[in-house]
């Protein structure tokens, strides 16, 4: 990744329980800075909600944190936004130390630079859609006319035009979350946190919202931290995924890397049922140029780009007798043939 780092955290810990801080400092002094194991934490009567998390999130990327319920995703994202104080560690937002910021400064950062969408929507029940969406601006002291104009814009953006005067209760779950999204976008944040935004919705609505989300991101290019417990959702949306288990991040990688090189059996288990063709690119299944035969145009049936997903290029390759050339930056880097594509499609040689 060449884009600059927007948000980073280094060995962030969140332990719940009495005397958690002392436990950690004592541990790191006595054990030559070795991290306490989960057994040690449990024996001390503590809960290790987040353990030694390292994350770097680059500008403009969708960074998904995936894990089963209770694995510490919400806690981690709340440490990143300092909604809760980490027990130890460092959080850097645009290079500034978030944890040492004074309250005034923190409020300013949150007002201007951060937005958050919540699992249960967290809409204010006594305000209309318009007032809800305008609320973050109201808090900043924006004049009423101005904030309502802006609110109407984002409401239209999320497709809720005409519902401005409704109260949250009058809306369906999907619509409520659209309000939540509109509200978090009203201040044009750089950094956008979404904590399981679609988990409370029906699968069909969820899919629709995911598409909507991708559409918005293609227009807005925010830096996004997206939490989900649904691996399919993670795959669909993520540029990169961090997988959490028992408070620990066990692997951070692109969806493709996760599938190809799962760090542990646990990760592999998630990827097992995911259709390979949806994730793998031509680059990862091609025969590198060194091993390929002739790549002369007359020996090949066509050309695909290295980043193309197998799912999208399977049809023509399968139909052709000859292999296709795989091209990256105008250069041929390998070939891909029918056999390779079929292997992927039927899951042969996957594990």
């Amino acid at each position: 990744m060449d884009k600059p780092v927007k948000l980073a955290c280094r060995s962030v810990w969140k332990l719940y329980g009495p005397d958690a801080e002392n436990f950690l400092t004592y541990k790191s002094h006595s054990d030559q800075a070795k991290n306490p194991t989960s057994e040690e934490i449990r024996d001390a009567g503590l809960i290790g909600a987040v353990r030694a998390a390292d994350v770097e999130i680059h500008e403009g990327e969708i960074f998904v944190i995936m894990g089963l319920s209770g694995s510490g995703k919400s806690t981690l994202v709340r440490c990143l936004s300092r909604l809760i104080e980490p027990t130890a560690g460092e959080v850097l937002f645009e290079g500034r130390d978030l944890l040492s910021m004074a309250e005034r400064e923190l409020i300013e950062v949150r007002r201007r630079k951060m937005g958050m969408v919540f699992q249960q929507f967290a809409l204010l029940p006594h305000l209309t859609v318009l007032q809800n969406v305008a609320f973050p601006l109201e808090v900043q002291g924006t004049a009423q006319g101005e904030r309502e104009t802006r609110a109407r814009e984002v409401i239209e953006l999320v497709g809720l035009k005409g519902r401005e005067s409704y109260f949250p209760r009058e809306l369906s779950g999907g619509q409520q979350q659209r309000v939540g999204i509109a509200r978090s976008l009203a201040v044009e944040p750089d950094l956008w946190f979404l904590d399981e935004p679609f988990s409370a919705l029906d699968p069909l609505i969820r899919r629709e919202m995911q598409d909507e989300f991708l559409r918005l991101q293609s227009m807005l290019h925010k830096t996004i931290v997206f939490i989900t417990h649904d691996f399919d959702e993670a795959i669909r949306l993520a540029d990169r995924i961090a997988i959490m288990q028992d408070g620990e991040i066990i692997q951070t990688a692109t969806p493709e890397e996760l599938v190809l090189h799962p760090a542990t059996e646990y990760v592999a288990e998630f990827t097992r049922h995911i259709p390979r063709a949806k994730i793998l690119t031509a680059r990862s299944v091609m025969l590198p140029i060194a091993n390929s035969g002739s790549v002369a145009p007359e020996n090949c049936a066509g050309e695909v780009r290295a980043g193309d997903r197998i799912e999208d290029i399977a049809d023509p390759i399968e139909a052709a007798a000859a292999p296709f050339r795989v091209v990256e930056d105008g250069e041929v880097i390998g070939t891909i043939d029918r056999r390779a594509v079929v292997d992927v499609l039927v899951g042969r040689g996957a594990d």
Binding site: L83, L124, H126, P136, F167, E170
Partner: protein
């Protein structure tokens, strides 16, 4: 978290039975024992060991009023300041609803504007009723106020209304601020909680004496007492409602960069509004509960009517004024409950461009009624005040009814009373009075330790010792006996009723109507028929306490059952539970914390009622307070009040601790 204490709880029952058996034996033979050992101190706390607290407190009060000063101003200035803050709005409201606006004083006084006419007042409540909910509510409250006019209670009712209109906003605002403080600063909460417990548990009589001392006889003193009495639930409800705001909403507030103030007033308080309205309702009801007691120190109004007819033994007139209080209470209760449960707002298309009158139909028509009847009243007095010639009275009817029952059913009533006395009341009384005080203190301490560790043990033991050290042990035991038996009966009757109300819509209608009436009935009022039927004595006192303390048992049980997650119940249904299994295995265990809360409230109400029962001749701590009031002996009143509070706090803390244990066992609490 597993602690060694949890295992002990399982062993608990055996231990408690054994303790009970020992106590029983001790209680039965304590007198013989003390004779045999020649140790009278076993049964009676020695007079020589008593603390001289009563005298000290009386002296301190005197010093406060006469000499105390904070440098810039004296304590007297301080109380005058408070009096002024209350008196000015009170006078204004009184002028608006009953007295009319006057300039000048004494013989110079001239009226510049009449008060609202009775028709206008009714129009106002009808308008509020309709705005809050519906035409039927409007009709109900309109009918209630019309009743007050027709039955000749209008003037007193308006005086009472004026004091409610003052004490409620002050109580609500004060409670809200204190509650917010407790929510924000845990340390403040820690300080406030015991004070609230005290305020709620010290019987009103106990602080009537000092308030009388500080503010003098009159409406201000009555309002101060009412506010002190009515505010604590608002504080608690506020803290609870704020804590109950979903975490995500709070986090949302933080994430959009709310300052602390914005967070509180723009996010938390509005989100907690439905819960807060419950508190407002409580403040209203408690204020109305106080009207009679408050009239003892100069509140006037309906309470005064009841009190003076009680003194005249005019049962009919007393009941009539009492019913007027109930009618008003029902009207105000329904109004505030309707506001609390107002259906979630529904969007409305913009009504821009319409005239002011069209947008506010109620405000404008009520204004019109007020002006028209006010003007008409200048010509025709019947428009201004309800004509006396058209009032009705039911007093004689009630007097006849009670007499009829007494003549015809005397034996039946007597039989019930004798049965209860012989088989329940007297044995319990004998048992409790027989317990040697050192053993009693030991048991209380042990219970504190078992349920809440050494801290609670220390608190409970210390408070018990306080009672003994002030020479009030026997009276405390009688208090405990009356209260305990009443609470037992109230729970036996109330909890099943609550469950029934939660399960069955039709039963709910009947039960909540009865409970509402009971709760809004000022405590004195049902003392009248009970005494008429059963004459003075412990049994009458018990019935009065049970009736009074029944409401929370029913309400909390019903609420506990209703607020169980429907999914859990559905899970039970799907698992094939019968209705009975559903109730026993799912609903009751899950509602247990609520039920315990209700039990707690029941006990508190029972204790606060004891002082009133002193009027029917019990010899408990209530009697002690009552004597202090009549003798204006503030030290004695305060000590006796504190002793009741001590009992209440012991019971409250032990119950709360055991509820916590139960919740932890159920896994309802992390």
């Amino acid at each position: 978290m597993s602690r060694p204490g949890e295992r002990n709880l399982w062993k608990g029952p055996a231990l408690w039975w054994a303790l009970f058996a020992v106590t029983w034996v001790l209680s039965s033979y304590s007198r013989d024992l003390s004779k045999a050992l020649e140790a009278r101190w076993i049964v009676k706390y020695p007079a020589g060991w008593r603390l001289p607290l009563k005298r000290d407190i009386s002296d301190a009060m005197k010093w406060l009023v006469e000499d105390a000063s904070f440098g810039l101003f004296s304590f007297k200035d301080f109380t005058r300041g408070i009096a002024w803050v209350i008196e000015v709005p009170y006078d204004f409201v009184r002028a608006a609803v009953i007295d009319g606006f006057v300039v000048g004083v004494g013989s110079e006084a001239s009226q510049i504007a009449p008060s609202l006419s009775w028709i206008a007042v009714i129009a106002v409540v009808v308008a509020i009723g309709h705005t809050a909910k519906s035409w039927s509510l409007a009709a109900l409250v309109g009918g209630c106020f019309l009743y007050l006019a027709i039955f000749g209670q209008w003037d007193s009712a308006m005086v009472t209304l004026a004091s409610v209109l003052i004490s409620v906003p002050i109580g609500v605002a004060g409670g809200l601020l204190l509650g917010i403080g407790a929510y924000r600063w845990p340390a403040f909460d820690k300080i406030l909680r015991p004070i609230l417990d005290l305020m709620q548990t010290v019987p009103v009589f106990a602080y009537l004496v000092p308030i009388l001392f500080l503010f003098g006889f009159g409406p201000v003193a009555a309002l101060v007492a009412t506010i002190i009495y009515a505010m604590p639930p608002m504080v608690r409800v506020t803290t609870l409602a704020l804590r109950g705001v979903p975490t995500e909403i709070r986090e949302f507030g933080t994430m959009v960069g709310c300052t602390r103030r914005q967070m509180m007033w723009k996010v938390l308080v509005p989100s907690a509004a439905p819960g807060l309205m419950v508190g407002v309702n409580q403040v209203i009801m408690l204020s109305l509960n106080m009207v009679i007691i408050a009239s003892m120190i100069g509140a006037g109004g309906l309470g005064f009517e009841v009190l003076s007819s009680l003194r005249r033994l005019d049962i009919g007139a007393g009941l009539e004024a009492g019913i007027a209080i109930v009618v008003m209470a029902i009207a105000l209760d329904r109004l505030s409950q309707a506001f609390a449960a107002r259906p979630a707002k529904v969007h409305s298309e913009d009504a821009g461009g319409e005239s002011l009158v069209k947008r506010h139909p109620w405000t404008s028509s009520v204004l019109a009624v007020a002006v028209v009847t006010g003007l008409a009243g200048l010509v025709l007095p019947a428009f201004q005040s309800y004509p006396a010639s058209l009032t009705l009275t039911t007093g004689p009817f009630w007097a006849d009814l009670v007499e009829f029952i007494n003549v015809n059913f005397f034996d039946q009533f007597e039989a019930v009373k004798t049965f209860m006395l012989t088989w329940l009341l007297l044995p319990v009384k004998r048992f409790l009075l027989g317990i040697p005080w050192p053993w009693g203190i030991a048991i209380v301490t042990l219970a504190g330790w078992k349920f809440g560790g050494w801290r609670l043990a220390l608190l409970a033991g210390g408070l018990a010792l306080f009672i003994a050290a002030n020479g009030l042990w026997a009276k405390a035991m009688i208090t405990l006996y009356l209260c305990g038996v009443s609470v037992l009966l109230a729970s036996i009757i109330g909890i099943p009723l609550g469950v029934l109300a939660a399960e069955n819509a039709r039963a709910n209608k009947v039960i909540s109507a009865v409970i509402d009436t009971l709760q809004t009935l000022p405590s004195f009022v049902y003392l009248i028929p009970v005494v008429m039927l059963f004459r003075v004595g412990d049994f009458s006192a018990m019935i009065a306490v049970v009736l009074y303390a029944l409401a929370p048992a029913v309400r909390y049980a019903a609420h506990g059952i209703r607020s169980i997650e429907p999914q859990l119940i559905e899970a039970g249904i799907v698992a094939g539970c019968t209705r009975w299994q559903l109730l026993r295995k799912i609903k009751l265990p899950l509602a247990l914390p609520e039920i315990l809360l209700g039990l707690n409230q029941t006990i508190m109400l029972a204790l606060s009622m004891l002082v009133i029962t002193a009027l029917v001749g019990t010899r408990d701590l209530g009697q002690e307070v009552y004597i202090a009031l009549t003798k204006a002996d503030s030290g004695r009143g305060i000590i006796a009040g504190l002793s009741v509070a001590a009992i209440a706090i012991i019971v409250d803390r032990i119950l709360a601790a055991s509820a916590r244990n139960a919740r932890a066992r159920l896994g309802l609490e992390a």
